[in-house]
Amino acid sequence: MLLGIVKGNAVCTMKYPGTQGLKLLVVQPVNKHLQPLGGLQVAADTVQAGEGDLCVMVRAREAALALPDEKFVPIDLALVGIVDELEVRSDESFKLTLQRGWNPYS
């Protein structure tokens, strides 16, 4: 699962059977600091997101499972939540590398 920012919407008149009525949004996948990750992608919307919203997205087979009715459709990215608040600590707050030998965490 990953974060994305809605940049616009896509309209298709010809769609695969079962995907009619789906809202398609153009999204920019981002990392935890909201920096872009790769290029723009198109996602199916299940939460009525709008332009500029920061969203939680799900990839792969689970994207089709997120849809309300049809579950066996060629959809590989879906919006499943609208983010109200994102709290992320800076990278320096934690040790993010594993050391050889014992790494105690508690």
């Binding site: 699962m1 499972l65 609208i82 993010l96 105690p104």
Partner: protein, 90 residues
């Protein structure tokens, strides 16, 4: 499953029904010092983990559906354990 550090929290009021009553956390995979760092992602919490905890994350849909006991859950990444210690051969 991968080892990761919880580095943040995500609050969503409007979300898919499968995501209700559980928290979403931002996790950063751990790696060796000489490895390139992996990109962070979002995981659903099943263990009451918090920021700063080192956790075990299942990143596969079928495993996630078993954990959540919902055969149609649209979830890929689930936190399934809190790590106490890790030993790596010297």
């Amino acid at each position: 499953m991968i080892l990761a550090k919880v580095v943040g929290t995500v609050v969503t009021t409007i979300s898919h029904p499968d995501y209700k009553n559980r928290r979403l956390l931002v996790v950063q995979p751990l790696g060796l010092e000489d490895e390139a760092p992996n990109t962070d992602f979002i995981a659903l919490d099943n263990t009451h983990a918090g920021i700063g905890d080192t956790v075990l994350v299942n990143r596969e849909g079928n495993g996630a559906r078993q954990v959540l006991q919902n055969p149609n859950a649209c979830v890929i990444s689930v936190i399934v354990g809190i790590v106490d210690s890790v030993y790596l051969q010297e």
